[in-house]
Amino acid sequence: MSAPVFDVAIIGGGTAGCAAALALRQRGMSVVLLEKGACGAMASGTNFGGVRRQGRDVREMPLATRSRALWDRLPAVVGEDCEFRATGHIKLARDEAEMAELERYAREARDHGLELSVVGGNAVRALYPWLGPKVVGASLCADDGQANPRLVAPAYARAARAAGAEIREFAKVEGARWTGSCFEVDAGPASARARRLVNVAGLWGGEVAGWFGEGVPIRPLCPNMVVTEPLPYFIDRSIGVCGGNVYARQVERGNVIFGGGRGWGDAQAGLSRPRADVARDAMARALEILPQLRDARIIRTWTGFDGEMPDEIPVIGPSLSTPGLVHAFGFSGHGFQLGPAMGEILAELVDDGRTPSPVEPFSIGRFASAPPAPRLT
């Protein structure tokens, strides 16, 4: 039996992978995507749901700006809005040092095309009377927002499937190699061969890179998340703080989602659990900025597996060891907003060999002398 050789194989069914599958199909390429579980079950589905440009490392700004436009087009691209709402995002300062940081970042962000509006004490009280007294200032990015992470990657997967991509779920990839004529991807009965390979394997992206001699140091990042019962709607912005030790948003149905700190994860066993002590710290911090949560009941906590790079920015770009292989992983806790754009960028890198988006700062080459990640599976 000779299995077909796809134009592209994609390892990883998060938002970036599924969006890439769709974009590549739309360019007429044959695509197979292999995902070890269900599409969107890992970092893409368990994150906070913030869709934001504010607060990013400025090197990510062109990608985030490109992605922001795509969030508005979700209904056209995947058939549903995935509950994306441009509520705006406010980053809060809780003391003078944090206030200075807000102002510093606002100046830096403006140089990279992001307009932020920073206000102090009295204005904060007037604009957001529901914020706790500890808040001394806020920086607003008016067109940032939030969406439902459980919906996005699966929506892209369905759209990719409808466009003719072969999406293979519960197909864990155990190995891959370049044979000299094509890539072979080992996934048991779901194994595939392809002319090009995309490594969007999230936390496991470092291991995949290692199969091609360019392993990188990546560590698990398990964001500890908490959600309340439905409450009367009062938080009309998505909220973060300087330093990021708490973040919160309220969905239209009224549940308040907040998080902060790290849960527990055993990447080898594929098990992760939210931590009660960490959740309780997040509750304390959330109450400082949102005192009205005082009477709320918590109904759920969760975490998941994201991948974190030592410098907190992702690996994006062509492999330096193997032509035809492209990497995009290690989004270090802030990949959600970038997912839609990553689909287009990966399609450009695979099909055109280049992308108009500046991805040089994310090259895997910056880790060339670093020790590779320990085997996770």
Binding site: P230, G254, D295, R297
Partner: protein, 94 residues
């Protein structure tokens, strides 16, 4: 009122209010019992029409959460009624 007392209680009376209207129950009544001996329902459903009056009576279904005037909330079937409780059902009287 939804519930009917079939085994009279010998315990002391408890005075409380439902939507600012005086109501009476007995020591040993849960708040759910106390409310439903005096009113047809416990709360409004937040995602559609209609009221809710609890379901499982054992702290499992969470249908019976009611709000006090001060904003705090309790699960009525696992909370005993006490003197002076001021509970709101969200029912509109007119």
């Amino acid at each position: 009122m939804q519930f009917a007392r079939v085994k009279p209680r010998a315990s002391a009376e408890v005075a409380f209010t439902i939507d600012s209207r005086p109501a009476r129950a007995r020591v040993g009544d849960t708040l759910m019992t106390a409310m439903l001996l005096n009113a047809p329902a416990l709360r409004r459903f937040e995602f559609g029409e209609g009221a809710r009056a609890g379901f499982c009576l054992m702290g499992a279904c969470q249908d019976c959460f009611v709000a006090f005037v001060d904003g705090s909330r309790v699960r009525a079937c696992t909370t005993l009624v006490s003197e002076g409780m001021a509970v709101l059902t969200g029912a509109s009287d007119g």
